[in-house]
């Protein structure tokens, strides 16, 4: 084993431990702000793994998008919601937690058996790593052209949808017509409890 391989293995170990620890913290900590910051840690460690895999552009995009945008947005959302609520502890909570743990451990066992039993076809060809951006660009404009274009439609519609959900609407006044049902941004069907009367 030469020095480069040793460094790779050690840094992989450190990143993996960081990622697992942070991920466990996200799930197990009670303070939601800690969870949000630890989520940022998970994303950072994942981008470190990408760098180990020679995917520099993906690593940078991971940090920019997930840490820079998504995680900050989550933190904003947490800080804007200033609601203190004392939850009553659910009775027999350990049964639920035990069942969840059982399912998760079972799934983990199944998946790890699968990972170990499968002879993975590992690609041994070394890729010239100097220009991943050019390669990604070539793929985007050849065999990934259609998904790339479809993603633009998807993003446009996500934006329109977000604006529709967030904007302040002019709420039409209910007109007292006898012919048809007019509603103000609600379904025309009455809720079930009202419709009985």
């Amino acid at each position: 084993m030469n020095l480069a391989e040793g460094v790779q293995i050690v840094s992989f170990g450190i990143l993996a431990v960081m990622m697992l620890g942070a991920a466990l913290g996200v799930v197990l900590l009670n303070q939601i702000v800690y969870s949000a910051f630890l989520l940022g840690g998970v994303f950072m460690s994942i981008s470190g793994l990408y760098i180990l895999l020679n995917a520099d552009f993906v690593a940078a995009a991971q940090i920019l998008i997930y840490v820079g945008a998504v995680n900050v947005l989550i933190l904003f959302a947490i800080m804007l919601v200033n609601k203190k609520e004392e939850f009553k502890p659910v009775r027999n909570r350990w049964i639920r937690q035990g069942a969840t743990a059982l399912v998760c451990v079972g799934l983990l066992a199944l998946l790890s058996t699968m990972v170990l039993a499968t002879p993975w076809a590992v690609d041994t060809t070394t890729v010239n790593a100097s220009s991943t951006i050019i390669q990604i660009g070539k793929h985007f404009f050849s065999d990934f052209l259609l998904p790339f274009e479809l993603a633009s439609v998807l993003l446009l519609m996500a934006m329109v949808g977000a604006i529709i959900l967030a904007r302040r609407d002019f709420i039409p006044e209910r007109k007292a017509t006898t012919t048809e049902v007019e509603t103000a941004l609600t379904l025309p069907e009455r809720p079930r409890e009202l419709s009985g009367s």
């Binding site: 002879p119 519609m157 329109v160 048809e180 379904l187």
Partner: protein, 521 residues
């Protein structure tokens, strides 16, 4: 030759002409709404319908096209996908017809609704022809995200908010599971994303790959079963159907479901051809559960929308018989049934919308005595419900008989018998509504029907509803008697599609020349 012209000569971009028309329509509606303002939104929705019909025409001219593979293997516009895309486009056109009045009365913006609906259609259409894993996942997400937005469109209604949130959370979980399964396929095939290439790599299952393939299969089926709302994955359906605007429900129950079945056929037949007995077993279980639970729970419903939700779960169970049969006839019967289901289910939803717009309720008990006040609505709803139940001269009967006949040919006696028994159960709850409307004496009329408003078709947006109602009524009545052209269409769509010929011996197409070598230079 430089890179761009090398690629451009191989794209064969003509195969997505119908989708291109939908995208242009979408942009026209979106930009036109900004320029012309809210008053023009009704005209814009007619523009959308015109664009969708243009897309159907484009699909017609692509029938039996010899060059079906486009975008270097990313899209496969064969006859199978054309039939499914046609079904989806028609269902959207019908949905727009019925949504104009509904959306305007609920006070929400119509043009944005239409454009989100068009995006959902676009995602569903791409899903029908998607031929690689990235394309499948992206089009699935386009369909799903637009559906979440549509579900929560009436944003001041708590039921709509609840439905959207439930749909979003369960949908996100199911896409995550689906994505995990798909990533396993990518790994097992040694880094292939095209479906036929994956199938070529997965031929040897003896050497320890079988467990990985099985897990990939189960996870992929979980994602598909969520889209078609087959029973263990159906929990979202009743709540989402109850809380969504009714035109959205109509689209989800027909367009979205058709896209799910198209994905199921393509993915299972192409990639999982080696494990056909396994997925047929899983789908048998899903079909049995869907038929039993859908039909039995529908009996107890008091709300029309919830009843139609459970009935759509049950109908998905019937369609799965064709999938389990696994023959060309089986797939043809699925296509045929989905096409008929389009008309009868959308017809039923048009009637439900009309009734709820006039009275503000969708409780089944409130329909009693409707015959005295609104004969056309009663006639249309009765015909559509009876057709859904499978009463002989109507279209639904022929669809069901074809499905059951194919299942019987394939030796699925238990499944077919169960289908027959549960059909009888379904006839009971469909007829209950018909009886409520037709048989009741005038003094048994519900208060809602007593106060039924005068029928005025000249109100803005009512005319398209009437057109949709009459069209679906005519189609449901005539498609049964004159079903031969449809039958031939379904059969030839299956027999001419490359999916089913290459299922056993996958061929790598020679057109997609851009190989990894030239890209990695």
């Amino acid at each position: 030759m430089d890179f761009s012209s090398t690629v451009a000569s191989q794209l064969n971009a003509g195969v997505i002409l119908p989708e291109g028309l939908v995208i242009i329509t979408l942009m026209v509606v979106l930009v036109g709404d900004i320029i012309l303002g809210r008053n023009a939104s009704r005209q814009l929705s007619y523009v959308a319908i015109a664009g969708l019909l243009g897309s159907v025409v484009a699909l017609y001219f692509q029938w039996d096209n010899s060059q079906t593979i486009g975008f270097l293997g990313g899209f496969n516009g064969d006859n199978l996908s054309i039939v499914f895309r046609g079904t989806i486009v028609l269902s959207t056109a019908f949905t727009i017809l019925m949504s104009i009045r509904y959306i305007q009365q609920s006070g929400t913006a119509l043009a944005e609704f239409v454009s989100i609906l068009l995006t959902a259609t676009l995602g569903a259409m791409f899903l029908c022809g998607a031929n690689d894993l990235v394309m499948i996942f992206l089009s699935l997400e386009t369909l799903s995200i637009s559906s979440y937005l549509l579900t929560g469109y009436t944003k001041r209604d708590p039921r709509s908010n609840e439905a959207a949130l439930k749909y979003l959370l369960i949908g996100a979980a199911s896409s995550a599971i689906f994505l995990y399964g798909v990533s396993l396929l990518y790994g097992l095939s040694g880094g292939e994303i095209r479906l036929d290439a994956i199938a070529a790599q997965l031929t040897d299952l003896s050497s320890g790959q079988s467990l990985g393939v099985a897990i990939a299969l189960v996870f992929a089926i979980a994602g598909i079963a969520f889209k078609i709302s087959a029973v263990p994955f159906h929990q979202w359906t009743p709540d989402v159907y109850e809380g969504s605007p009714t035109p959205v429900v109509a689209f989800l129950s027909v367009g979205s479901k058709a896209a799910g079945f198209a994905l199921a056929i393509r993915l299972l037949v192409t990639v999982f051809g080696q494990v056909t007995p396994e997925w047929q077993f899983i789908f048998t279980a899903l079909a049995v559960l869907s038929m039993i639970l859908g039909n039995v729970v529908a009996l107890a419903q008091t709300s029309m929308k919830r009843m139609l939700a459970y009935s759509s779960i049950a109908q998905a169970g019937f369609v799965m018989i064709g999938l389990v049969a696994g023959s060309d006839d089986g797939y043809a019967s699925m296509v045929f049934y989905l096409f008929i289901y389009l008309f009868m289910n959308l017809g039923a939803f048009t009637c439900v919308i009309l009734f709820s717009l006039r009275t503000g309720t969708d409780q089944i008990a409130e329909y009693s005595g409707l015959y005295q006040k609104d004969p056309l609505l009663t006639l249309a709803l009765s015909i559509c419900l009876l057709s859904l139940g499978g009463i002989p001269p109507l279209a639904g009967f022929f669809g069901k008989i074809y499905l059951f006949w194919v299942g019987w040919q394939a030796g699925l006696y238990g499944l077919v018998l169960l289908g027959l028994v549960t059909s009888v159960v379904s006839i009971y709850y469909y007829i209950r509504v018909v009886k409520m409307m037709v048989v009741k004496e005038p003094h048994e009329m519900s208060d809602t029907v007593k106060n039924y408003p005068p029928i005025r078709w000249n109100l803005p947006g009512m005319r398209p509803l009437q057109v949709g109602l009459v069209l679906s009524l005519v189609a449901t009545t005539l498609a049964g008697i004159l079903s031969n052209p449809l039958f031939n269409l379904a059969n030839s769509s299956i027999s001419n599609s490359s999916v089913f010929q290459t299922a056993s011996t996958p061929v790598i197409l020679s057109e997609s020349i851009i190989n990894r070598q030239s890209l990695s230079e």
